[in-house]
């Protein structure tokens, strides 16, 4: 049997559209629902700690990029950072929550925008965790010897979904013109952008590369209902046969099924489940907290409630907060792209030294999923 090769991240790239939009301006940038201010917005902003973010819609609501176009820009930047050209690329895995098209897949759209000649592609559609699903495919492709230059890219254009027309005149707005909390909160949470990593079977001749030690992905969708979703109403979300296409687009829109929605009661339970999966990894010795030099978590430490931090500390699972690196506060929560946007900023920060270990954690509330990627700096 052929030996599996090691695979390294040799370049990262990020793309954030437009100028940063501050917390005080973001609601007007997206547009108010029925002209009214949000009831939950301030609380959401305090909780997620996002101060500035980026949108691929300008203040007049005109799109400056497509979702695929942003991903292609991040892929181009990652290839350039690796010292490679588009012609070197042979495998493209692309992730997103919602591509520009319902079908075909996002990777086809990204390839279309990227050029780069005939490629093998793979599309991964989920929420934040789709980033690591794509990364695992790229990593295994390199490890198996199928490809020498693979890219995992991820991008989001959430603000399209936050335009008032998605909510107005639907069941998501009550008689008094108030938007349901399930819809309102996410408008203040997510924003736009893209990120990508290049994987190769050898480290860069100069500078740091990141050897991928493992990518572990765990879904708990067998026990939890959808927690963050689009394509079903709040009431209808647990029945796959009540999803949008059964009723057709017009009826689905009226029912409030064509919107990004989140169940916050369920989210609390899902957070505990993520922590449980993490502690299991610690217990199995797969993750040794004391050996982690840097933690990049697509979830801010300040959003974890005290009892979760207390549980992590008492179970010797906590990675001290001075080891956490995050740029969520300044670039926003960019869904699947966040982990790559964060990794890109982390590498540019100059904090990383050869021999250090970096743990990337990507929890996805979609339907209770969590991914872990362990990297070691070499070079």
């Amino acid at each position: 049997m052929t030996q599996l090769r090691d695979a390294y991240i040799t370049g990262t790239g990020a793309f954030l559209p437009g100028a940063p939009v501050g917390a005080e301006a973001m609601e007007d940038h997206l547009g108010r629902i029925g002209g009214r201010g949000s009831l939950l917005g301030r609380r959401a902003l305090r909780w997620n700690g996002v101060e500035t973010r980026h949108y691929a819609l300008d203040a007049q609501g005109r799109a400056t990029h497509s979702n695929a176009g942003m991903c292609a820009l991040a892929v181009g930047a990652a290839l350039e950072a690796a010292g490679l050209g588009r012609e070197d690329l042979t495998y493209l895995a692309a992730a997103t929550t919602q591509g520009d098209y319902l079908t075909p897949g996002h990777a086809a759209g990204v390839h279309g925008e990227l050029g780069a000649g005939p490629l093998e592609i793979a599309s991964f559609q989920s929420v934040c965790g789709s980033s690591l699903m794509a990364a695992k495919a790229a990593w295994l492709s390199v490890r198996a010897g199928e490809h020498d230059v693979a890219v995992a890219g991820a991008s989001e254009f959430s603000s399209r979904w936050f335009q008032p027309a998605f909510y107005e005149g639907t069941a998501l707005v009550d008689g008094k013109g108030r938007l349901r909390a399930e819809a309102d909160y996410l408008r203040f949470t997510l924003s736009d952008g893209a990120g990508a990593v290049v994987m190769e079977p050898a480290r860069r001749p100069a500078g740091l590369s990141l050897k991928v030690e493992f990518i572990d992905l765990v879904s708990l969708a067998d026990r939890f209902d959808p927690c963050m979703w689009a394509g079903a109403s709040v009431e209808g979300r647990t029945d796959p046969m009540a999803t949008w296409s059964f009723a057709g687009p017009v009826a689905a829109h009226a029912a409030g099924a064509v919107a990004l929605l989140q169940d916050f009661d369920l989210l609390k339970r899902v957070i505990r489940a993520w922590v449980g999966v993490y502690l299991q990894k610690v217990d199995q010795g797969r993750i040794v907290p004391a050996q982690v030099d840097h933690l990049l978590c697509h979830y801010s430490a300040r959003s974890l409630r005290d009892e979760i931090v207390s549980l992590l500390e008492k179970t010797a699972g906590m990675i001290p907060q001075d080891k956490w690196f995050s740029n969520l506060a300044t670039v926003g929560n960019v869904g699947s792209a966040s982990i790559w946007v964060m990794l890109d900023a982390f590498l540019k920060s100059g904090r990383l030294k050869a021999g250090e270990k970096v743990l990337c954690v990507v929890p996805e509330s979609g339907r209770a999923f969590v991914g872990f990627m362990m990297l070691e700096a070499v070079g």
Binding site: L220, D222, R223, F224, D225, E235, T238, D265, L266, K268, R269, R272, A273, V275, G276, V277, L279, Q280, V282, D283, D306, E307, S310, L311, K314, T315, A316, G317
Partner: protein, 220 residues
Amino acid sequence: MSDVASVLRQLAVVFTEFEGRLEQTPLIRKLTRGRFELADYHAFLIGLRQQVKDGALWMSRAASNIDEDHLELRSKLMRHAVVEHRDFRLLEADFVAAGGELAVIQGAEKNIGSEALSAWMFHEASRPNPFGLLGAMWIIEGLGSIKAAEWGGLVRRRLDLPDHAVRFLLYHGENDAEHIGEFEEMLGLVLPDDKVAERIVKTARVTARLYALQVEEIGA
């Protein structure tokens, strides 16, 4: 590894597996999917009452089997039993406030899961130095401090009930923050010890499975 932090970690993993299993039971599915009706709440309280009533009893029995080298743990269990031994009355009052008849809840039989859970608890509590029961307490206290308030909130909203009909579930959530600290202290009284650590985790697993069986059997 049998230090307190390692055992707590394993117990936390057992608890999240337990939560996942509860999530899939027909009764809790009804609750989280908005299909929970008053009759379900009545059945829920009837199902819970048996274990709540037994809880202080097996804890007392366990305390009586703890030797004099572990008097501090014995004191803690006895105090715990005193605090909780009347809780089932509160649960009965909720049942009545939610339109149920007292005689119905008091006369109800244990379901299959409750029978198994109760037999298991008293069996364990009857052994000398039954430290494994700390694992059972982790599961049952965890339900009280984490799940009960969640369920109580959902029940109140779905059924539009007044607070005084959901006191048992809501009131249990109050001592949330102290829960882990107190438990950690109790573990410290018997750990580190490999055999005890193993037994605590095993007892937590069995208790979680039987508790989930009790909930599965409610209204089944």
